[in-house]
Structures are given as structure tokens and as C-alpha cells.
């Protein structure tokens, strides 16, 4: 009776594990599990993720197959047919996984991930520079205007309605700065270098479709570089808890064709003009 009960458990657990494996792997094929990608480095990020999916999936599947096989094969009553392994086999079972894991994981991060990581944090000279400022619960973007220079932001001049960036009317650099609330405009195919700042608490400039994510840290300027590859309107979702309104801290990245972007830029007037 008891041995039968044991066998039932063995079959149950092992078929459950196989089922879980099949469902998990199957879900990758069935589910629309990744948002579309619309940036240059985003493709690299996806390449990296795909690589890990295969590496991790291999371990996941093999591990669960071995586990379920063992359960059925060695479940039940009686005595174990165990014999101590020779030192050599044991070392093989230790060094093998170590070499495999280190090789697979480090290879991925060095060969595929590293270059993409560098891409995200390297400022190229002809990049369009965009200034992003976060505050509870809003994204504000700024372009330097005709003079190509950003004016200084002064906390004492901050006014939520009139002057959300605390720009100085007397500062010649600030005069033609273009300020856009809740949206960012980018030309397609051109690199954009972001200076990201925050007025109050931590926020995170997160555009999943562009695979961009960089915290906005008060007191610090953080950077990220995006080269959009497709025209469209992509949502910014704050990804660092910033208070009860965290969930409604939205914004949009509008990627336009180069001509459209130039037209848009021309139509904008400076904050103090």
C-alpha cells in the first residue's frame, strides 16, 4: 500500500514538473512576451535576452527532465542501490557544471552584452542632446534651442505652472530653451544623448519599447543614449517608486522622421520667447 502511494506521488510530481516545463517553454512561443523593439541598442538587448533564454532554457529543461526521471526511477520502498562515486567522477560532476556555467554566462555578458552596454553610455559628438527632468509625477523634456546651450536650472525659480524647470529669464542660454511637458520628440535614426535629472525623489526614465531605462536621481545627472529605429509614439512609464502617483507618471516619446522632427523643432518657441 505504502509503496503504491509513493509511486503515485512520484508519477504525480514528475508529470507535474514535465507539464510545468512544457507550459513554460511553450509560453515563449505562444505569448506575445516582449514589446516590439524600436531602438538600435534595443536590438542588442533583445539579442542578449535571447541568448540567455537559450542558455537558461537548456538548464531549465535538462534539470527538470533529470529530476522527473529520477523521481520515477528511484521512487518507492526498499534499499538504495547507491554506490559511492569515484573521486574522479565526482570531480567531473563538479568541474563540469562550473566550467559550463562560467563559460556560458560570462561569454554572454562579455561578447554580446558588453558592447551594447557601452553603446548605451557613450556620448557621440553629433548626438542630439535632450534634457529630461522628472518630478512627482511628470516628465519634462528640454531642447537647447538655436544656441545649442542649456540654461541653468535654479531651484529657487521653480514654479509648477509658470516655470517647471526653474529657468532664469535673464540667462541668455535659457532664453531659447524649448520646454515640453510630458513628451519627448526624437528624430528617427539619429542618436540622442539624454541628460536625466530629478527635482524631488528617484524616478526612472523607462521606455520599454526603446529598451531604455535610467534612473532620474536628484542631485545627479544620469545619462543614456538612444537611437530610435522606427517612427512611433512610445510610452514612458516611471520605473522607480516615487510616491502614490507612481503609476500615473506617464509620458510619451514621439519618434518622427527627420523632416518631421525638424519641422516640429522649428515650430517650437523658447520658454521665454
Amino acid at each position: 500500500m505504502r509503496s503504491q502511494r509513493g509511486a503515485v506521488s512520484a508519477w504525480l510530481l514528475s508529470s507535474l514538473l514535465i507539464l510545468a516545463t512544457i507550459l513554460t517553454v511553450g509560453a515563449f512561443f505562444v505569448l506575445k512576451w516582449r514589446p516590439e523593439v524600436a531602438s538600435e541598442h534595443g536590438r542588442g538587448v533583445d539579442r542578449m535576452i535571447t541568448y540567455i533564454i537559450f542558455a537558461a532554457g537548456f538548464i531549465f529543461v535538462v534539470g527538470h527532465l533529470v529530476l522527473s526521471t529520477f523521481l520515477v526511477k528511484f521512487g518507492g520502498k526498499g534499499t538504495a542501490a547507491y554506490k559511492p562515486m569515484t573521486h574522479k567522477t565526482e570531480m567531473l560532476f563538479t568541474i563540469g557544471p562550473v566550467v559550463f556555467m562560467v563559460a556560458v554566462s560570462e561569454l554572454g555578458v562579455l561578447a554580446i552584452g558588453g558592447p551594447v552596454w557601452n553603446q548605451v553610455y557613450t556620448h557621440k559628438p553629433d548626438d542630439l542632446v535632450v534634457d529630461i527632468t522628472a518630478k512627482q509625477y511628470e516628465w519634462i523634456s528640454r531642447y537647447p534651442g538655436k544656441d545649442g546651450k542649456f540654461g541653468r536650472k535654479r531651484p529657487d525659480l521653480f514654479d509648477d505652472q509658470e516655470n517647471p524647470l526653474g529657468l532664469d529669464r535673464k540667462d541668455p542660454d535659457a532664453k531659447d530653451d524649448i520646454v515640453v511637458r510630458g513628451a519627448v520628440y526624437l528624430p528617427v535614426g539619429k542618436g540622442a544623448w539624454f541628460n536625466i535629472q530629478s527635482w524631488d525623489v528617484l524616478h526612472s526614465f523607462n521606455v520599454p519599447v526603446l529598451r531604455a531605462k535610467q534612473d532620474a536621481v536628484p542631485g545627479l545627472t544620469t545619462h543614456t543614449r538612444i537611437v530610435p529605429t522606427a517612427v512611433g509614439r512610445y510610452e514612458i512609464s516611471c520605473a522607480e517608486i516615487c510616491g502614490p502617483g507612481h503609476y500615473r507618471m506617464r509620458g510619451f516619446v514621439n519618434v518622427k522622421s527627420e523632416a518631421d522632427f525638424a519641422k516640429w523643432l522649428k515650430s517650437q518657441v523658447g520658454w521665454f520667447e
Partner: protein, 583 residues
Amino acid sequence: MAIAQAVETGKAGHQAHGRDHGHPAGFIRKYIFSTDHKVIGVQYLLMAMLMSVVGLGLSLWFRVQLAWPGKAAMTPEQYVAIVTMHGTIMIFFVVSLALSSGLGNFSIPLQVGARDMAYPFLNMLSFWIIVPASAIMILSFFVEGGAAAGGWTAYPPLSALSGFGKVPRGSPGSGMGQTLWLLAMALFIVSFTMGGLNYVATILNLRARGMSLMRMPLTVWTYFVAALLGLLSFPALTAAAIMLLLDRHLGTSFFLPSGLVVSGQQAANVGGTPLLFQHLFWFLGHPEVYVLVLPAIGIAFDVIAAFSRRPPHGYKTSVWALLIIAFLGMIVWGHHMFTSGMNPFLGKYFSIATLLITAPFAVLGVNLLASLWRARIRFTTSMLFALGLISAVGTGGIGGLFLATATADLHFHDTYFVVGHFHLMIGVVTMTGTFAGIYYWFPKMFGRHMNETLGKLHFWGTFIGAFALFVIQHFQGFGGMTRRYFEYSADYVQPALALNPAVTWFAFLAVGAQIPFFFNFFWSMFKGKKAEANPWEATTLEWTTATPVPHGNWERLPVVSGKPYGYAEGANGDAHRMQNAEA
């Protein structure tokens, strides 16, 4: 000279042990203010069960909100507070208490052959500090502004903007609730540090004769490594918490930078940086993961050995893997901060260093699996949980590959992938380990068996519910679904969002499965089937003493003569050899 020292040691030891040994003690001394490690262990377990009701209840509440927005009667303010408190309570007041403090207290002295912890009075104090800490944590819901709402990580400036004095208020939960949160955490750290000191001293100095380090059961090894990690890493959080309190109440600027403008109000702070807190926090936070996960794996090794009737594979390599994990665990905290604005060079370093940890973890995983090779598995509830742990460790572990790779983390950071991953590791792995331990040691604790049928019900519900729940969350993370959101509206998140009701149903299953466990636990305590001294025919020292375990654990302390796992010995491999068997 050495003798004089020994006499002194003996005196102190005698004071500690002799205090209530051999005397009939009243109910209060025996069960409430007891210095007996077994009683304290059970007290911790009960405390954890009590707190788990709160922690799990909160999780169900916000799961309803997430699956069916608007149906949970909850405001966004309450939502962030509930999420924060769920995290804090579950990590520190449920998992840490049940696994590290509860089962650790019960099993360590019994497994190393000691009469009690090195310093039983300190041990009692550790527990009684947890009581006010838990009370403060729960009471913080009812103060002005509600409970802490800055996430369990309590990142400043949100957590530092208290609204006291000249400091502006960041959010409703940043007021008194956050202060009480810090206070409760400070008490927790004090208690946990004292507990860790006791563990280290007991394991290093009070082992029975013959119990060399390499003869310790793997459970003890993992508790030892975890205690060392805790002692090395918790001070960083202590420092951070003190600085955060000063920022909140005395107007200092450790973490608050110049030029802060909070809801239109300009702050007077100059010169701090929020990144500093993140570094200090994760200097604790990452080792804390291993503090929680490793003992669960250790228990699984013991349980699997006992129910597969053979020694675990690769004892020595497992021990070395543990030590390497501990070392690497101390130097990789930055992988929680890839997108935090940390220097990109550090991102690369932390990525490469973190991925090295996969190697010792692979060794542990292979050893766990290989321990089933040519075994005769008995499917008790305890064993089922240990087997579930193998699956969860593997599944959760490979999720770590994604998050440790900085480039991939650009997509996954602060999404449900992270949520799914760490719930698998410090939720499912730790709890399956804990349950395996509870079902395994329950006969030793109370002299009675837990009901197997209810136990199996508990296992299937927990395992299916938890596994499905958190694996689906991985997929939601792939879809870019951000965490800590009250509601979702973005286009890209819609496919992931469709999975939310399923997640909530599985959450109900996993939490509902705990009802038979609670019932089973208390019912079996009084009405369960009577257990003999060694019901599982296990070989480690705790099974060599009588059940119920007498005060002082043994009449005469055992003398250890061999390996901890003397299974499959004898001519046909059908005998088992107790660790203290005559040679």
C-alpha cells in the same frame, strides 16, 4: 593558565546552562520567557506564522486590486503602503523568523550536539526584541499618513522626506510610518545580530566531541555561512538606517542633495547623494538573500538524504560552494543598481562578478539532483517540499542570469520579472525549505507526527500555486510590466496585463493551501500520531536523543564517530549508521 581560562569559561557556561536546568520550572519560565533553544525556536515559528497572516493577507488584497482594478476598495496611497509592508513583513518577519531564527534555533544545537545555544539568555532576548519590533511594524499602519510607502528598499529621498522640521514631505507614507518602520527594522537588526553571534559561537565552540567541521550536517553549514554573512552585512544597513533617521529628523543631508524641490517647496539640504544609501542598503540586501536561501538549501540536503536513503552527493564540494557563494555574495551588491545612475564601469564589474556566482550555485544544484541518483525515495510531505525546492532553486536561479546581465537588466529592472525572480528565490525556495524542515522536525519538536494527507494537500496547493504564480510573473516582466503600479494603462503592457487575473487566482491557491497547514500544525501538536525518537530513521544527532527532547538535549552528550549521513551502509546498503554509533 589554560585551565584557569577553562574554569572561567565553565563558570560562565554553567551560569548560562545551569540556570534552569534540572529544576521544574513554572509555565512562564518554561514556555514564555524560556532560555531553551527548542522553545525559542517554536516561539519564532509561531511569531512568523502570526506575521504571515498579515503579510499574506496584504498580498491577496493588492492582488485583487491588480487583477480587477477598483474591486479592492483601495487608494493609490494605501496601495504603495501595502506593497511596502508586504515586502518588509514577509522578508524580515516571516521568512527570516521562520527559517533563520525558528528552525535554526531548533536544529543547530541538536545537530551539533550541544546542550543549548552558547548564550541562552541572549537567545531569549533576541526573541523578545522581535515582539515589540513586530508590534511596531503593524502599528505603523495606524499612524498619521499610514505605513511606510517607499518600497521595502526605503530608498531616499522618498523615505527621507519626512515632513518634520525643515524637511519637506515626499508622500503621505513618508511621515511617522517610515520612522516606525526604521525603528522596527533597527530592533530586528539588533535581534538578528545577537542571534547570528549565538549561531557562530555555538557552531564553532559547542560541537560535541568528534564533530569536526567536516562532519557537520549541511544544514548546520548553511546556517553557519548565513550567520557569518548576516554579521558582516547587517552593519551597513544599520549605518544607513541611522543616517536616514538623522536626515529625517535632524535636517542633515546624508542622502538629500542640493536643489531639491518637493511639490513646489524648496528644501534646505545641501550636498548629499541618494546613491550612497542604495550602496549601503544593497551591501546588506544581497547577502541577505543568501542568508535566507542557503539554510533552505541546507535543510533540503538533510531531508533529501533522510528520505532518499543515501548520503547527499558531494558533501565537500557543497561546503566549498557555500563558502564561495558567501564570499562572492559580499562583493556583488551593485547588480541591484544597474540602472540607478551608478558609474557604468561598476555596472560591468558587478555584472561579471555576479555571474561567477552561477558556478557554485550550479554545483549545489547538481549535488541536489545527484543526491537522488540510485536512491530509494520515500515521498513524505517533507520530501515533497525538498523536491519542490530543487525545482524552485533551478527555476529561480536561472532567472538570476537575466538580471545579473547588466544589458538584459535594462529591460527587466523594476519589472515583474524581478518580482517573480526574487519571490521564487526568497519566497518559494525559502518557504519550501522551511516547510520541509517543519514536517521533518515536527516529531522532534512535539513528539507527534503531522498529518500526511493534509500535508500533501498543503504541498500540492503551495507548489502548484506558487510556481505558476511566479513563473507567470516572469512573463509579465518580459512584457515590460513595471512593478509597484496601482493600475496600468500603457499599450505595450496590455498582453502582460491579461495574465493578471491568472496570477491572482494562483495566489489565492498558494495562500489558501496554507490553511490546511495551519490547521495541521496546531491539531497535530496535540492530537497527531505519536512519534518515536527516530521516526525517519535519519542519522544526524538530533535523532539520537529521546522524544520529547529533554532539557539539556541529552542525558550524556553524544560522541560523534563518523559522517553525518550514514545511509546505505551495511553489506547490502540496507542499514543506516547513526552519527554517534560506536565505531
